[in-house]
Structure formats: C-alpha cells, structure tokens
C-alpha cells in the first residue's frame, strides 16, 4: 500500500451539485496527489482530504468497540419518544436508503440538508410544478442562460465550462458565441464579469421583479413607477423579456439568493411560474443550482421511500410531511426532539443558537468522516470513510442524473452504509425484544 501509485479515471467529485464525473485522480498510497479536471473546490476536496483520525467508534468521547457503540446508538433511538434524523447530503444513496429504513422502524422524523437549502424550492415546485431539463439539454440547445441569485464562479466553478455557457453543443455549434448570459444579483459578484448582461437588483426585491417579468411576458402594462426601489428600469426588464421570448431555448438557474432570502418559496414560485409562462412562446426552463454533492440523491431517496422529499415524520407509523413542523431547525429549536442522529452534516457548527443548545442537551448519534463540533458533542460518534474517495455508491447530480462513484483508495474506517446496516439490525432486534416484553 505504501507509495503504490495508481490512476483512477472517470472519478466523481461530490463537492458541489455539478457532480463532475470526469476527474482523473492520481493516487499514491492513501493520498490523492493530483485531480486532473477538478476545479479549485474539487481539488480541495480530493487533495486536502484527510483520512479520519482516532477510533471508529466513541461513546461519550471514550473509545468503544463498534458493537458497543451500535448497541448504545440503537438504544438511544429505540427508547426515544421523538427521535429525529438529519443530514444525509454527503453520503451515498445506498446509505441514505438504510437511514430512512431506520427512521421508519423507530418512528423518527427524517429530514435532510435540503430543508436549509433548496427546501423552499421543493415547496415552490409543489405549488407550481417545474419546467426543468438535464444539463446536457442546456449544453446542446440553450442560447439564453440566466443566473438569478447564484454566483457560479464561486459556488459551482465548472458549471459554465462543462454545462451551461461555454460548451459547444448540437444546436449551439459556436459555444459561448451562440449564447447570451444574464446575471441577476443584489451585488456584483465574481460571476458578473462573465455575463453579457448584469442586472443589479435591490435586496428583497426578487419576488417583485420576477412578478413584473411575468406581467411583461403576458403583455400587461407596467409603469416605471412600479419599479422604484427595485434597482432595475422598465427598459432593462422589457429588454430581458424580449430576449426570453425570442430565444430558442432559455434557462433560468436560481440559487440561494432566491430560496433563502425574504420570500423564500414565493421567490422560487415566481421564477418557476415565469419559466412556465414562457413556454407559450418558446422552450424555457428553471433549474435550481443545488449545493452539496448528493443532496439531490437525499431528496430522491426520501421521496421514493416515503412519498415526500424532506421534513417527514414517521412517528404515527406512516409518513407525514410538514415543513416547519418536522424540519430539523424547528424540531430542535422548539425542543421537541428527545434524541437525534446526525449523518454527514454539522448542525452544531451552523444551526441557530436555540437549535444548538437543545441538540447539546439530548443524546444523539453522529456519523462523519472527520471530527466536527457535532461529533464532539455526540453521545455516540462514528468515524466513517468518505464517499467518492473511499466508498463506492450512487449519487445524483443537481439535475437528477444518477452517477456512480469510483473510489480512489480504501479506508480503515467503515462506510456510513456499513454502520447504518448494523444499526438497523440492532434497532430491529431491540424493537422485537420490546414487543415481546410487552406481550
């Protein structure tokens, strides 16, 4: 294993929702020394990857055997009255599927990082529907590409080059030259210089501007006075509408700037409705710029197994859905959860004070590849191998395309899936014992 050199082709990077699968990794022993084709984020993901440290399993900070830790973890979940399970965006679908099974058996709430990211987009989709497409459709057909509330230069560095603005496509033979790129944001980000048109709108005005675009698309009259305080002029909006109606294939990529600012799902509804309305004139699409590598996979798994995408509660023995009621920031901040399992996520590092305080006060299990403020506060902590680097499996790109992982080297730590399968087994065992005891 020492200094063994190998090359892994067609490896998949799971840092952001681009899920680029053309990475060529040079692997020396248990280090990745090169990541050809990877962007700065991907390079950091692969090259700065550190193998986990310390024992596989800890109970209240002290090393334990995996069996003991699994037993303790199962007990925490089975004995709880309102257990919650959260995270899941940075692991394989195979592990996500076992997690939902555990949630089902113990009657937990199951929620993913979607609820703090594009959850509002999911809710908007439930209200309006969505007109969407895979990234290759953009590559091969799009002549008008709009980014709204998204800064791809920093959040998804290869998006333009691989999918949306640069590549030559079947009906876009000249690549970038055949496209008009529009950026709409509240400040001039690093993405702005690459756009042909930059519209700087005032913060908290996205909904109003999107709604006015809808009105203009439908041929209604808008007065300049209606646009005061939005940062844009009627001429700018009319120009944009003319381009949208006249294009052959337009796509609006939207990010946290819409889904996580004032209005949230209403902003996204406006964007989705605009794309839908434009289909009376041409082909027009609205796609979310999804974040973490496999959050789309988490949405898909939870949806196919329960029928709902996130914020699901299984406490009554069947799935119920209610964002705000069963989403994790809420079940923690309102002190409703009495136990938790956090997988591949760090809420102790980024949730609200109320949520963090409550999480620290209840017994919870954490699975992560490295030490975090969440794993340090956990009653039971597992160090697991990294998906895509050590562990094979399935992930979903931001546009729902499923892609396999090609790991670079093995890890001494078990995969999330392995721990979760052992946990599921133990949970079922304890539940059966509980049932027999009560009979």
């Amino acid at each position: 294993m020492q200094n063994e050199l190998k090359v892994v082709s067609n490896a998949t990077c799971t840092f952001c929702g681009c899920v680029c699968d053309d990475i060529e990794l040079t692997v020396e022993g248990n280090h990745i020394t090169k990541a050809k084709n990877a962007c700065v984020l991907g390079k950091a993901w692969f090259l700065n990857h550190e193998a986990g440290e310390g024992p596989v399993a800890r109970i209240r900070g002290k090393e334990a055997t995996v069996e003991e830790a699994v037993e303790e973890a199962a007990r925490i979940l089975v004995d709880a009255k309102f257990p919650i399970i959260y995270g899941l965006s940075d692991t394989t679908c195979e592990a996500q599927r076992v997690t939902v099974a555990i949630a089902d058996w113990v009657g937990a709430s199951i929620d993913t990082t979607t609820s703090v990211c594009h959850g509002p987009s999911g809710m908007a989709f439930q209200g309006v529907g969505e007109i969407t497409c895979s990234l290759g459709e953009v590559r091969n057909r799009a002549d008008l590409v709009i980014f709204w509330g998204s800064n791809p230069a920093e959040s998804h560095p290869r998006h333009w080059g691989r999918y949306s603005t640069m590549p030559k496509g079947l009906f876009v033979p000249n690549g970038r030259k055949d496209r008009t790129v529009v950026l709409v944001d509240v400040r001039r980000t690093k993405s702005a210089p690459a756009a042909d048109i930059f519209l700087q709108i005032k913060p908290r005005k996205d909904f109003e501007v999107l709604w006015m675009l809808r009105a203009l698309v439908k041929g209604l009259t808008i007065n300049e006075a209606d646009l005061i305080d939005t940062g844009v002029t009627l001429e700018q909006l009319q120009n944009l509408v003319d381009r949208m109606k006249a294009c052959k294939f337009g796509v609006l990529f939207f990010g946290m700037g819409l889904s996580m600012t004032r209005g949230k799902h209403l902003n996204v509804e406006a964007a989705l409705a605009l794309a839908r309305d434009l289909n009376a004139f041409t082909r027009f699409y609205a796609n979310p710029m999804r974040g973490h590598g496999n959050v789309t996979g988490a949405d898909n798994v939870v949806s196919w197994q329960t029928g709902y995408p996130f914020g699901v509660n299984l406490g009554r023995g069947y799935p119920r859905f209610n964002p705000g009621e069963f989403t994790t920031t809420d079940t923690l901040a309102r002190k409703e959860a009495d136990a938790a399992m956090i997988i591949a996520s760090d809420p102790m590092g980024n949730f609200s004070q109320a949520a963090r305080e409550h999480l620290a006060s209840i017994p919870f299990i954490a699975l992560d590849t490295k030490e975090t403020s969440t794993t340090r506060a956990a009653a039971v902590a597992f160090t697991t191998a990294t998906y895509g680097i050590n562990v094979p499996g399935t992930v979903y790109r931001m546009d729902d395309v499923p892609i396999p992982l090609r790991p670079a080297f093995e890890s001494p730590y078990p995969s999330d899936e392995k721990i979760l399968r052992a946990l599921e087994k133990k949970v079922l065992h304890l539940l059966q014992a509980k049932l027999q005891a009560s009979n």
């Binding site: 439930q126 497409c133 895979s134 196919w304 197994q305 023995g317 790109r397 892609i403």
Partner: protein, 553 residues
C-alpha cells in the same frame, strides 16, 4: 429443497388450456413441478385451496412505478397523499403513502396484495436507468423491469434517417444491455424532439421532424424491425403520436398500417381511438370498431387498453408536449423534465368526471376495446397507471367486464351524450374467468415473451394467486385469499407475510462490439457524463436479476 403443494383449487391456466379444473399444484425451489410419483415425497407445506380459485400471479405490462418521472410526481403532489389511506409499517414491512403515485414499498405491497407478481414500468430514459433500478430495488415482492425510451433518441434517429439498420440494431442492443432494460419504447416518436426543438408537436406520421431528417413512420418501421431482428422477447411498445386529440384515430390507423405486418404492441390504445375534430369538442366520438377491426385481423399486433376510471389521479408521460397540452386544458400545475439526447416528460394532476362528456366517453371507449377485440390474447388490461387511474382499480375493471348489469348502471349515471357516441350500451359480452385470466396474466406474459410467467405449467415460476370464489367480483379480486411468489407465501389474509426483494428482469442482446466506438464518439460529443459512467452494472439488479434470453434469428 422445500416442496409446497396447493391442493384442491379450481385452476384457471389458459396457457395450458386449463379452465376451472380442480387440480393440485406442486412447487419446488420456486418452480412448478409435476406432482411427484413417489409416494414418499412429502411436501413441507400444504395449502388447502379447496373451493377456491387459482390463477397464475398477475402480470402488469404497462404502468409507471419507478424512475425520475414517477418520483417527480411523488414530490410534486403532497396533497394527493395527505388524506389518502396510507401503508403503516409493521414489524416486517415498511410504511408508505398511496394516493395516485404510491411510494415504492407501498407499490410492491399493494401489487402483491392484489395478486400481481410481475409489473413493468413503461418508460425510462436510459440516462436515468440507474435511478429506475434503485427504485425497483425498493419495490418489494414483485418481479419487475422497464422499457427504454428510444423514439426520440438522437443516435437512433440519425441511423433511421441514414437507413443504417446495422448501426440501429447494434445501438439498440448496446443500449438495452447498458441500461439493463427490457424492451424498446416509442413515445410520440419524433414528436418529443420537435417539441424540445421549439416546435409544437407531431400529428401525422409523415411529418418531417426537422433536424433529424426522418419521419415518425420511419422511426416506427425502423424500431419495430429492430426489435424483431435482435430477437427481443417483447415487440416494440408504441405510444402513438397525437395522443388524446379528437380525430387521432387516423394517426393510430396510419401507425398500424405503417407496421406492414411487423410485430408491435400499441399501448393505452383507448387514448388513441378518438373520432371528431381537435377544435370541436361536440363532435368527439368513438372509433374503436374501426381500429379493433384491424387488431382482429392482425394477430401480430397486441394492445393494452389504458382504461379511464372516474376520480382523481395524476397524468405522467414521456410525451412532453402532451404534458403542456394537459396543463393548458386543465389549468393545473405542470411539471416537465427533458433528458439530453433521449426523451421528455410531462406530469399534470387529472380528474375524470362522470358528468363530463369527454371523460365519460373516454371511459366507454376503454370498455369498448375490451369488448370488441375478439381474441383476449391480443388485449391486456391496463389503466396506464396512474394516467387513466390507479392499478388499484383493476378489480373494478374486472367487474365491469364480467357483469354487464354493472356497466349499464354506470352508463345510466354518466353524461347522456355518451349513449349516442359509443356503442357500449349494445355490447352484451361478459368476460369469463378464463378470459380475465388471459388479459391479466397469461396474455401479458405471452406478449412480453416471459415463458415462465403467466401460467402454471411445469417449469413456470411458482407465482400463484388464490382467490375466494364469490359472486361479488369486486371483493373477490380486491382481496385474494393468498399470494405465492416463487413458492413462498407472501400475502395471506391481506397481510404481507414475507418480504422478498423480487427480481429485475432484463435483456442482454448481443451486438457488434466493433460499432461501440462510433456510439462512444457520438456520446462524448454531446452528453454531460462520461461514457464509462453510463452503463448500469449488475449490483443494481434487484434480487440478483434475471436475464431473459433474446431469440435472434
């Protein structure tokens, strides 16, 4: 080596000519065997089916149960499930939601609960095959598979335009093998590509589809021939152009003629049998007789009905422009998802109302199909789940077919103009149990080329449904007494007794590997994933998977 004996049941096994005889069934290692001659061979399990009716496990050859389109519909419609019955978890089984698009575990349990042991998803884009396989792995008990969308696939269209049959055959074989799919599916051939390119749609099969320089007729001919040439167990499966539009019966007739004697399966034919004109709803009428005449004189063509049932459901289709049309007609929320180089899809909530003339006529047209096709081996039961209605409505369809009084009762309630635009009131035919067994299991298995399904002869898979005989047809078929899968009891008294994963059925046709280089070159020019990451490997197959052989001539 466990042997199961099912004794004393009344067998309906049309494939083997058994029509209500009382016989025993013996199953060993999951397969039906001849009753042992040696007296000392005792079965480990004896199931007493005396007085009960036995059929092979049901085979649903057209439904939408797994994959990206189905999952989008689940995500899109929480309201569809909120007040609907749900599936509660048990010590053995997972929970789920139902509504018109059940979650995966619920799907498996509900099918098994109805006595179905095999089901095929009708439309998956190859780029998302991996997703469909993952969902099928979480759809327990039933054996399953899916058809691959090809009718708007760019590579296929290119070869069809060039009339390069060799390349088309190799591509098709390579694609089915890579995706681990089961059959070729055409959905609005050429029409989805026209829509994606900014056009409206296709209404005639000789319309040019623009950039690709071919017509729907050529796509239909090319791929129906390919299916035969590479020996696929199932014929090409066609969702004709112009679905749902009054007057579309001519497109269907043209499609049938275009086949020129080749094998084909035309799906949810009810939606394609409309007379009248697109802009005059008043003239809407049934043209089933004209189309059924063709089916009745062409044994190489089979159909499934796509029955409409009254109530709320969800339309979901690979026919992107159809989704837009339904959105405009109903005003309801609309989801559309296009897949690069391959396909489209449209999802819109639907309601079919008894008092709506159009909906009531659609309902009647479906029933006309069942009653006007003479040979039940040529027609399979379906609702195009969930488009016409849920698969949970199959028992109601059986009741409609076996009991003409029930049909007439409903005819009295629906919009009165249906009586003059449909001949349903004059159709007296009532299906026998034997015919029901054909259209729900024996026939679909034969259409699919599944030699070990849909019958109870020696060597067949031990998939058996035991019903309580009753004059209440609905109750009888809604609640089988027992369901057996590969010889093991999976459902008893409406409870799941055993959770087995079920097997993914797929084909692996041979192809000239020398032509893969050309496919790769095309792929790498246009797709956005790596060529090596496109094929689905064996570990995605549920239950280890079963490869159904091709019969290449």
């Amino acid at each position: 080596m466990a042997i199961t004996r099912i004794k004393g049941g009344k067998i309906y096994d049309p494939t083997n000519g058994i029509n209500g005889e009382v016989r025993d069934i013996w199953i060993k290692d999951g397969k039906i065997i001849a009753p042992p001659i040696e007296a000392d061979i005792l079965p480990e399990k004896v199931i007493d089916a005396t007085g009960r009716i036995i059929m092979p496990g049901g085979v649903d050859m057209h439904c939408h149960i797994a994959g990206p389109k189905v999952n989008l519909a689940r995500k899109m419609r929480p309201e569809d499930k909120r007040y609907a019955p749900h599936v509660s978890r048990t010590a053995l089984t997972r929970s789920g939601t139902i509504g018109s698009v059940p979650s995966t575990f619920a799907t498996g349990y509900l099918y098994a609960g109805l006595g179905y042991t095999t089901a095929f998803d009708a439309a998956v884009p190859p780029l998302s095959a991996r997703h469909a396989h993952e969902e099928l792995q979480d759809t327990p008990i039933i054996d399953k598979g899916f058809y691959l969308l090809m009718g708007n696939n760019h590579y296929a269209l290119e070869q069809i335009a060039k009339k390069d049959n060799e390349k088309l055959k190799s591509f098709t074989a390579w694609l089915l093998e890579s995706a681990k799919g089961y059959a070729i599916k055409l959905v609005n051939p050429g029409g989805v590509e026209v829509w994606k390119s900014g056009g409206a749609n296709i209404s005639e099969i000789d319309q040019d589809i623009g950039h690709f320089n071919c017509t729907p007729r050529q796509i239909i001919q090319g791929l129906s021939q390919t299916a035969m040439d590479i020996g696929l167990p199932h014929a090409v499966h066609i969702h004709c152009n112009n679905l749902g539009i009054p007057g579309n019966w001519r497109t269907t007739q043209a499609t049938m003629d275009a086949l020129e004697g080749r094998r084909a399966h035309l799906t949810h034919i009810q939606f394609h049998s409309y007379g009248g004109e697109p802009d005059d709803q008043g003239k809407f009428c049934s043209k089933v007789q004209e189309l059924a005449d063709f089916v009745n004189s062409h044994p190489e063509v089979t159909v499934d009905v796509g029955q409409v049932l009254f109530g709320e459901t969800t339309s979901m289709t690979g026919d992107g422009p159809l989704g837009y049309y339904l959105h405009k007609v109903t005003g309801k929320k609309w989801t559309s998802a296009d897949t690069e180089m391959e396909a489209g899809c449209g999802i819109v909530p639907m309601v079919y109302k008894e008092k709506s003339f159009v909906n009531a006529l659609q309902w009647a047209i479906g029933l006309e199909w069942y009653l006007l096709v003479k040979d039940p081996w040529q027609i399979a039961m379906s609702t195009d789940h969930p488009n016409g209605g849920s698969f949970l409505a199959y028992p109601e369809i059986i009741q409609l077919l076996m009991d003409r009084t029930y049909r007439q009762e409903i005819l009295k309630r629906v919009h009165p103009r249906v009586l003059e635009r449909s001949c349903l009131k004059d159709l007296d035919r009532e299906y026998t149990l034997n015919e029901i067994a054909i259209i729900t299991r024996a026939g679909p298995a034969r259409m699919l080329g599944l030699k070990n399904k849909g019958h109870l002869g020696i060597g067949a898979d031990g998939d058996v449904t035991i019903y309580n005989e009753s004059s209440n047809i609905l109750a009888m078929f809604e609640l089988p007494y027992m369901v057996i899968k590969y010889g093991k009891v999976v459902v008893e008294k409406s409870e799941i007794r055993l959770q087995v994963p079920g097997n993914t059925l797929h084909v692996s046709p041979s192809f000239d590997s020398g032509l893969v280089g050309g496919i790769r070159k095309w792929f790498e020019s246009y797709y956005t994933i790596q060529f090596e990451n496109y094929p689905v490997t064996d570990e995605y197959l549920s239950g280890g998977g079963t490869m159904i052989p091709c019969n290449k001539k």
